[in-house]
């Protein structure tokens, strides 16, 4: 039996987009309404997938397979395991909330705006469910274009610079990654005599370490730029700062995760020897640690509210990559959970900046102060977001960071020691931000008449807050979903590390089931 649920999840936003294009541009209300409905549908159709996902099963589920370019061995092959399931859910939820939060903040060229978001939604979901490498790459690049426009059209004053920087940077990484993909493809053809991009098949490859390392670095450039890891992070603050609120939210919540997801889904299982190579692991962990501390340091001196949040992303993503390259269950599972957490908490922080930006049209921290007097609810929401980001226990951030730290600790105690410092600084810059903006006397007269959150803004924040708390209090379902896939990856990496260039290693049983249809 083959269900088409994944295709439905994938193409619902596209269908929404096509309908949207039919709505005349003058009818702004209808456009907004329909965009929201389409995004909500996108979320709703993903719910049955979550419900019917069988976490006890190994391998991929809801697999769909069709030939796409048979002469090149490219397939339309999609499926999810626990890792991608969570990512897809993150995408559909954040996508909806991002669109919903734009209701009043976007006032010109709305049709294009929502079209871009829906298109982006397709790309992002596609990235997370592709099991064919070329399909993955297609979606990967597809995502760039809408984001370019979102930043470039609806962004801040330096939007064009930020947009092209984002595009160039990630594209350069992407094409190099493509070369890595193609190398695998040829290796496979050499060893097995046929061409395929199917990931499960490529895992059967048996490559010499040297070649694996080359491919690893090619992948690394693609993924690390996306994450972004130090020192490839400089596009991020610009893009984040200049993007419109919803754009920043999606960028932080989902787009960056494509990089970390890439590491987990591709670098580790496909190149187990290279990924567990001592030098490579050390380099990556060091870069992650630098990212953690560096992001935090730079956050401390930011004068722009949004830029501060943007740099904090660098720090948080440092945790995620550190967890991945701890190469153990704790590290990777924690990393994935932390990715979701980062989506939630940084997403919230960006939304919070957006709320105030919509009211005051500035993001200079020094313009604010004492906002808690006039916007008490806003202050509470901000506090929760801040604490979630700073990793306060019982909120989501802690679960992820703690698990990552444990993973890092198991891998190397020094890493954990440095990473822990990141937690301290995380608290420092966030609290300071909070103090400068929310606390104290109202120093700027312009802030006196600001309105507190309206119902629409509440409606955006409440689900996120609830989500944050549920992960913080009861993260077990997430760990359960992740247990098998992560264990598989860890097993694969360690097995090949112990048995250099062992012939056959564990391959998730994706193919067998799907072929039955």
């Amino acid at each position: 039996m083959q269900s088409h649920i994944l295709s439905i999840v994938l193409f619902t936003p596209l269908a929404g987009l096509l309908v949207l294009l039919l709505i005349p541009g003058q009818n702004k209300f209808l456009i907004r309404l329909w965009a929201n409905i389409a995004a909500a549908l996108g979320f709703l159709v993903s719910v049955p997938m979550l419900l019917s996902f069988d976490r006890a099963k190994d391998g991929y589920q809801f697999v769909e397979r069709a030939d796409w370019i048979p002469s090149l061995g490219v397939q339309y092959l999609i499926g999810v395991d626990g890792i991608s399931l969570l990512m897809v859910m993150l995408t559909t939820v954040m996508g909806f909330l991002a669109i919903f939060s734009s209701w009043t903040s976007i006032k010109d060229r709305e049709k294009e705006y929502y079209a871009m978001f829906l298109l982006q939604q397709v790309g992002m979901v596609g990235v997370f469910i592709s099991l064919d490498f070329l399909l993955f790459y297609t979606f990967w690049e597809l995502v760039l274009v809408p984001m370019y426009f979102i930043i470039g059209i609806w962004g801040g004053p330096r939007k064009l610079y930020a947009a092209i920087k984002f595009f160039l940077y990630t594209l350069a990484g992407g094409v190099l990654m493509l070369l890595g993909i193609l190398t695998l493809y040829f290796q496979y053809a050499q060893q097995f005599g046929r061409y395929t991009f199917e990931i499960a098949e490529l895992m059967k490859l048996n490559m010499p370490l040297g070649l694996q390392q080359w491919v690893f670095w090619a992948f690394f450039l693609g993924f690390a730029i996306k994450v972004p890891m130090f020192p490839f992070h400089t596009w991020l603050p610009d893009a984040h700062t200049e993007a419109p609120t919803a754009g920043s939210v999606i960028l932080a919540a989902v787009l960056l995760k494509m990089g970390t997801y890439g590491f987990i889904r591709f670098s580790l299982p496909l190149l187990p020897n290279a990924s567990s190579d001592r030098t490579i692991v050390t380099i990556l962990a060091t870069l992650s640690l630098i990212g953690i501390l560096y992001g935090a340091f730079v956050s401390l001196v930011q004068k722009d509210w949004k830029k501060l949040v943007a740099y904090s992303s660098v720090s948080h993503l440092g945790f995620c990559t550190l967890g991945i390259f701890a190469l153990n269950q704790n590290g990777i599972a924690g990393s994935i959970i932390q990715q979701i957490n980062h989506g939630i908490s940084t997403g919230m922080l960006f939304l919070i900046v957006g709320v105030i930006y919509e009211r005051r049209h500035t993001r200079e921290i020094k313009e604010f102060g004492g906002l808690a007097h006039v916007m008490p609810n806003y202050a509470i929401v901000f506090a929760i977001a801040m604490l979630s980001s700073a990793g306060l226990p019982l909120l989501n951030g802690f679960v992820g960071e703690f698990t990552i730290l444990q993973g890092a600790f198991e891998a190397n105690k020094i890493w954990a020691a440095f990473a822990v410092l990141g937690i301290i600084f995380g608290a420092a810059y966030l609290l300071w931000l909070y103090q400068r903006t929310m606390l104290g006397e109202i120093t700027n007269e312009k802030n006196r008449g600001l309105k507190d959150l309206n119902w629409r803004e509440w409606a955006v924040f409440v689900p996120l807050i609830i989500w944050a708390v549920t992960i913080g209090v009861y993260p077990k379902p997430y760990f359960d979903i992740l247990e098998k896939p992560v264990a598989q990856i860890v097993h694969r990496v360690h097995q090949s590390a112990n048995m250099p260039l062992a012939a056959a290693t564990v391959v998730p049983p994706i193919a067998a089931e799907a072929r039955v249809r």
């Binding site: 730079v298 226990p393 609290l431 300071w432 103090q435 359960d480």
Partner: protein, 669 residues
């Protein structure tokens, strides 16, 4: 009804109160708030009492309730544990918490953000109860961080004051530094014992797998890291700096959080981890050393402070030092005992101070007080009792616990006479500064201005009743832990017995510690401490009632040093600024220090410097590299365009040169 299975409700009720306050508080009337929040803590108190009574009836005095799994990868559950140690703690937290809630109804009656205050307070109680009821380190850490947060929120309650915000931030960040150590400690513990549940950890550590570690090894490192966490939370050297600043918060907060409960979390945690610390005598020695140093250091500062709350704050730091001395010498029950008694009289002192400040229309400088004895009699009497208690006058709570500590420093196998001497000196200082406070505040002539004098009034019932209850406690609770040599019935030594199951001695130490106490010497010590206490009080009385201001000894060189708190804050700054000006000398290289300082001041110069440097790096180097591509593109584009002159012959020339190059390739190939 089995209250033991309902212990999870104990923290949850205040959480419910907090949630109601934060989300709906603004729409509730003051009266409703005044009922809900103290009521929630009251319910918790009743539940706690019921549960403790039931626990007492159990043979195995331990009960765990598992709610649901939390961090599956580390086998950590949302589970609560009630044993003698936590039962003491929950009683302190809910009991004193309840009183302070009631007190706050009166004290905060005129303040804005009433609902917010109670919301935070209830939230604090929730986290504190989670901390003490947790059955595992991570869950303890939940409470640990949570109380830090509430402390931050409550210190910064008057958030329109910048100093309040700064103080809150400082508290949170210094605590986080400790937490960093604590987290690492937990990881080591997990590595050692493969579990983070208290029961499992203790069982493992007491098993044959581990022996006493006499050199500095993994166990010591683990213990030390946990202790770093404790120094942060319990304000020990070098992380004590946040606590005095924390007095920016409302006085009930100082009483509850910064005297009675939260700051003792470190002591609780060390006591909880006694199995570990017992295995590492070196660490224990360090703990005792840090505790002793902190106690005398803070006491010395308290001698000269003029702000009434600051005196109490340093006093708290000093008393916490005592507790760590006790824990360090292996007398865990004594540490908890002192924690217990201290909670009563220090809470009372703070509340009393609050009442004084209330009466003084917000004035906190003792130099502007005086003669309040008759104006606010209830406050005076209750504070009088508390001051006697803390000074160590026999019969009151403080006497028993402090005396036991001093005795244990001598008697315990881990002890040292050095600690005894320090303890005695500190005791003298304590008696002196407390009574200095009393004399400056309540005796002599009033030094306040007319307007304030006019307003002087005793506090309302909601405030005075808790004072009285606490005063009663300050007298009575000490009798639960009378010295053996008193030879009183077992009930009066109940405290040690009650905690016995928790502090099961490790085999190695048990044999050493079997030496017979010398009764005569113990009596002698007791006498010395009493004399010292009375001496301290007398000196204070002499100086502050008999002598005029100008007649009092100035303290010479020492006075400004003490007044400026040994210049520690300044030294922290100075080290780094000088380090920087020397171009990153050895001190600057100590990243750890940098972090401490950067964290302490949040905005500190160092951090700013480092961040600014990284900012430059970002803007000029990294960005430069990226933009280099754009720049290179343009730079390369120039010659290409330059050649495209529009002149046909230059095009043909390029053609010929291309051909020449191809030909040339053939010949140089």
């Amino acid at each position: 009804m089995n209250f033991l299975d309902l212990i999870w409700l104990i923290p949850l009720v205040p959480l419910f109160g907090a949630a109601v306050m934060l989300f709906f508080g603004r729409r509730l009337s003051k009266a409703a708030i005044s009922i809900i929040c103290p009521g929630a803590v009251g319910v918790s108190l009743l539940l706690s009492i019921a549960a403790v009574i039931q626990l007492a009836g159990l043979k195995e005095k331990i009960h765990q309730v598992t709610l649901f799994p939390w961090l599956p990868l580390m086998k950590v559950d949302m589970a609560y544990l009630l044993d003698p140690l936590s039962s003491v703690m929950i009683l302190v937290v809910t009991g004193i918490g309840f009183l302070i809630h009631v007190y706050s109804v009166g004290y905060m009656g005129h303040e804005g953000g009433y609902y917010r205050f109670f919301g935070y307070l209830n939230l604090f109680v929730f986290f504190m109860l989670t901390l003490v009821l947790a059955n595992s380190y991570p869950l303890l850490f939940v409470g640990w961080e949570g109380v830090g947060l509430c402390s931050y929120l409550l210190i910064g309650f008057y958030f329109n004051r910048k100093s309040a915000g700064d103080a809150g931030k400082k508290a949170f960040i210094v605590n986080r530094i400790g937490d960093a150590g604590f987290i690492l400690g937990m990881f080591f513990l997990y590595q050692l014992t493969d579990s983070l549940k208290f029961t499992d950890v203790n069982e493992a550590l007491r098993s044959a797998r581990f022996g006493v570690e006499h050199s500095f090894g993994l166990l010591s490192l683990t213990a030390l890291l946990l202790f770093v966490g404790a120094t942060g939370k319990s304000a020990q050297i070098p992380l004590y700096v946040w606590l005095p600043d924390a007095m920016e918060g409302p006085t009930p907060v100082s009483a509850l959080i910064h005297a009675a409960t939260m700051v003792t979390a470190g002591v609780y945690m060390v006591a909880r981890s006694n199995a570990l610390f017992q295995l590492t005598p070196e660490t224990s020695f360090i703990i005792a050393g840090v505790g002793a140093a902190t106690s005398i250091f803070a006491a010395s500062i308290a001698l000269v402070q003029t702000d009434i709350k600051k005196v109490l704050a340093y006093s708290t730091v000093s008393q916490l030092g005592y507790m760590f001395v006790a824990a360090g010498v292996g007398a865990y029950w004594v540490a908890v005992f002192h924690l217990f008694t201290h909670a009563f009289f220090k809470a009372l002192l703070f509340l009393g101070a609050g009442s004084v400040i209330h009466a003084m229309s917000g004035e906190q400088d003792m130099n502007l007080m005086g003669g309040l004895k008759n104006k606010i009699p209830i406050t005076f009497r209750t504070m009088f009792i508390a001051s006697l208690a803390i000074a160590g006058i026999p019969g009151l709570a403080g006497f028993f616990s402090k005396d036991e500590i001093i005795w244990q420093t001598h008697a315990s196998p881990l002890g040292s006479n050095f600690f005894t001497v320090v303890g005695l000196i500190t005791a003298a200082m304590t008696a002196f500064y407390m009574w200095r406070l009393m004399f400056l505040t309540f005796y002599g002539e009033g030094r306040m201005d007319e307007k304030t004098r006019h307003h002087l009034h005793e506090s309302p019932k909601t405030m005075t009743v808790p004072l009285m209850v606490l005063a009663a406690g300050s007298v009575l609770v000490g009798w639960l832990g009378t010295p053996k040599i008193f030879g009183l019935p077992e009930f009066f030594r109940g405290f040690e017995g009650w905690l016995e199951p928790v502090f099961e001695p490790v085999k190695a130490l048990a044999s050493e510690g079997a030496e017979q106490p010398e009764h005569a010497f113990e009596w002698f010590m007791m006498g010395v401490s009493v004399v010292i206490a009375i001496g301290g009080i007398y000196v204070a009385k002499y100086m502050y009632t008999k002598l005029r201001r100008d007649q009092r000894p100035s303290g010479g060189m020492l006075y400004p040093v003490l007044l400026n708190k040994w210049y520690v804050d300044e030294v922290y700054d100075l080290i780094f600024i000088r380090g920087l000006s020397l171009g990153g000398g050895g001190l600057f290289a100590k990243f750890d220090r940098e972090v401490v300082d950067g964290g302490v001041n949040g905005t500190a110069w160092t951090t700013r410097f480092v961040s600014t440097v990284s900012m430059w790096w970002d803007t000029w180097i990294v960005d430069g590299l990226v933009n280099l591509s754009a720049f290179t593109v343009r730079a390369l584009s120039f010659p290409v365009r330059f050649l495209q002159t529009g002149l046909l012959q230059s095009y043909a020339l390029a053609f010929v040169i291309g051909l020449l190059a191809i030909f040339g390739y053939y010949w140089v190939r």
